[in-house]
Chain length 486, copies 2
């Protein structure tokens, strides 16, 4: 009899450490062999015992990898620098595992893994894939491999693959799978149960069966497995099927589909074309990935990174990912610097201004970012309607006034304590209040305008915001100082 | 016969707009009534026709709300300012819907809704809840309501509730449900199928049945519904059940559990205690919420917001959410300002320095944030082991040198063009290179040290980082200027 099932998943951190330990061992053996080779440089053959140890360290690694889930190997590969990644990838055995891992790793890492494989290995790995998985990998595969794979498909699979490849990455069609369990509405549950017993397996995440018409495969409803299981076998499907259901179209936005999965707690949902014909199926595992990727790209975009980076990508590749942002920032920084340049004579008369001005611009940037972050999130979650904009503006301005009065007073007092000049303290307090108002307005309107213009408010909002709060901060502070202090 | 099922989910934005339109209509009627009331201030009763129109506008709203899914009403409530939210909440009919909505809204909004309900309404709403749902709401309910609800539970439910409440928010125990379909291992599938037909419904997201021992309820394995459906009814459960499975303990971290759901594409998973007894069940819908909340809090923390804000929270409440960050920023800004203060005599001699220094500090802050964001993400996904730290440091420093040389040269040339001073251009270029190195190191080590100290690297990293790149930027630039230009 089997053991009681009590196996908490091994933590990823632990698996990673073990693999790293095995790699270190392997490297040490390697180094020892090289040293030995150098010592007797005159082509004395390497000691066979050493060579055995070398082989053993790899065998141990391979055994460890064989015990790991492909998802976890994918994770470990992402966490390893190129040389180690290469060694581990070579030890992963099994074409199906290779394929599963390729599907799991990030795009950046996938590229490096595919570069390590020759034509035969790629063909062997892709041969087990479903059409929708093939469609995921195809853009990253060498084109002659893709051609050869397409050649090996039957007509229907080729149709499916062509369909899947025709949709953009952000369309539901690109993520739907073609494996579905379908039934007719005029049969009894008993018949359905007998029909299912003819399957070797059901498609992943089958929580409902799709009820379609016989001739044109129009979706009539769905039969949740629950209803199949709890009801009398003599009942007819049509009596139990749900007809009021959530369906998607292939051209729907994937992120909106993912939100619908999240809101309605779906496990799977049918995809139908304009004629109501069933064309595919979305499942929760894919949608979870969409949610995760969307959240990740929000964080990355806020920091001005174009895309996810392989942590161990080449220096040049990483630099390229970061340059556009750096260039734009440099430009806006120079523009803000010109605002200060216009007040050089003021600063020359009172150098303390130079030390104080970054405080005004800095706090403005920070509070503006807080407001913008809340607005960007509200927009992403469809929580900001133009009807409520007025209320939001009034609220954010009120917070700015409150903060400006309180923190302005604090700043003014500290300035007075430092420089013993009451008028300088007053200018600081007033500039703080005004720049917080600027920051609140910028934090509100920049993301909202980006959204109206059809752009992603997370990407680019923050450069524009900092530029506004910096330039205006310098202008307000130095302007007030020119007017009131000199 | 039922209609073909082709109902794409109505977009949230559309539902929200419709509700807002009805609210506006209601408000206009309201205003008209008030005006009428003021015109004949001498207590002339309001025209019954107007009053009818008034009633009608609410009826229309109620009808619209009745057609919406509770999740969508929750969403609309979050997107409405307090007065409108109150009107809509009053029109939501049905105690079960009230309860479902309360479970869906964010904590901040839930508070405002509960404040609108009296004791009877709260008792009526909570009466339909499962124990685990009750545990979710309990912390937000008035304590006398909680007492009364507990009084109405049977002994087993009370035990479950006590257990659920005893776990911290970040422990699996706080999110597990107690509704499970369990079977014995020595029966045939036929028996299982007959047993299930006695249920009125299965627990949500039942994709597998839990196989437990008769006496002590120790988990022996799970039987996926798929295996139940595709196999011969005469097979015994023990032959088909999976014993090599992912289980969780009540004290496990919820975020790690959610990551396991994501990695292994789970729909449900058993929770067992140390003795191997089945105590509860986790489902993918709850785990998706965990993933979403974790991602949200990462974005909010990066912007220095302590927690999610009700978009329409009171000004004072919102200000409080933002103050700690503002205070810390003010402090660090003043400290950086003191660095400049130390170089006042240098600036007095060459005022151009005041205009140029924010460029150096700003670019440092931006590149540091890029590095830190990648590191924070790598840490969150367990992709950074201490074995690979050395490689990461070398890589980030190499990028900094590359960027420093290229962008430093650009900056140096622009400075030369603006001020016609070659030495000033050189100082800019050199300061840029050095501050990018500082930024790379700060972006690496600040989040990694935070993590080592057991703190959340997303929260606080960015203040420390900006402080470092600002102070060091000013120090490097003004220091070099003092040495080389004067």
């Amino acid at each position: 009899m089997s053991e009681p099932a009590r196996k908490p998943p091994e933590s990823l951190q632990d698996s990673l450490r073990q693999v790293e330990r095995l790699l270190t061992k392997h490297r040490l053996v390697d180094a020892a062999l090289n040293l030995a080779g150098q010592a007797d440089a005159e082509a004395v053959p390497v000691d066979p015992v050493d060579s055995l140890v070398h082989e053993q360290s790899l065998t141990e690694l391979r055994k460890k990898l064989d015990r790991l889930h492909p998802v976890d190997i994918a994770h470990i590969l992402e966490a390893l620098p190129p040389a180690e990644r290469h060694i581990v990838w070579e030890q992963v055995s099994g074409d199906e595992r290779n394929a599963d891992i390729l599907l799991e790793v990030s795009d950046a890492v996938r590229e490096t893994l595919i570069a390590d494989m020759d034509r035969e290995e790629l063909l062997a790995a892709t041969e087990h894939l479903d059409t929708d998985e093939l469609a995921d990998l195809a853009p990253d595969l060498p084109s002659e491999v893709v051609q050869e794979v397409i050649g090996s498909l039957d007509a229907e699979e080729r149709e499916d693959l062509k369909a899947a490849l025709s949709y953009a990455d952000d369309e539901v069609g690109s993520l739907m799978s073609f494996e579905m369990a379908t039934i007719r509405e005029d049969v009894t549950l008993e018949v359905v149960l007998r029909y299912l017993r003819r399957f070797d397996e059901l498609p992943d995440h089958t929580d409902k069966l799709f009820v379609i018409t016989k001739d044109d495969e129009v979706l009539r409803g769905v039969l949740p497995l629950e209803r199949l299981l709890i009801n009398d076998p003599d009942t007819v499907v049509a009596e139990l099927m749900i007809t009021d259901l959530v369906t998607f179209k292939p051209q729907d936005d994937v992120y909106e589909a993912a939100q619908a999965f999240e809101r309605y707690d779906l496990v799977s949902a049918p995809v139908v074309d304009d004629a109501g014909q069933l064309v595919g199926r979305l499942t929760v595992d894919t949608m979870v990935d969409v949610i995760r990727e969307e959240a990740d790209s929000e964080v990355l975009n806020l920091a001005g990174l174009r895309e996810e980076e392989d942590l161990f990508a080449s220096v040049l590749k990483s630099a390229k990912n970061r340059w556009p942002w750096l260039g734009v920032n440099l430009l806006t920084a120079f523009m803000a610097s010109r605002v200060i340049g216009a007040f050089e004579s003021t600063i020359a008369q009172l150098v303390a201004l130079a030390a104080l001005m970054p405080i005004i611009s800095g706090i403005g940037g920070n509070t503006g970012t807080q407001t913008a972050t809340l607005i960007i999130r509200g927009l992403a979650m469809d929580q900001i309607s133009y009807a409520s904009t007025g209320k939001l503006i009034r609220k954010e301005l009120a917070i700015a006034v409150l903060n400006g009065l309180f923190w302005g007073a604090v700043i003014g007092l500290i300035t007075f304590a430092l420089y013993r000049r009451l008028d300088l303290g007053l200018v600081m307090a007033l500039a703080m209040l005004l720049n917080l108002l600027v920051a609140a307005l910028a934090g509100l309107f920049i993301p909202m305008s980006m959204q109206k213009l059809g752009r992603d408010p997370a990407y680019g909002s923050s450069v524009l915001l900092t530029f506004t709060t910096d330039s205006m901060g310098f202008f307000i502070f130095l302007g007030l100082a020119s007017l009131l202090l000199l």
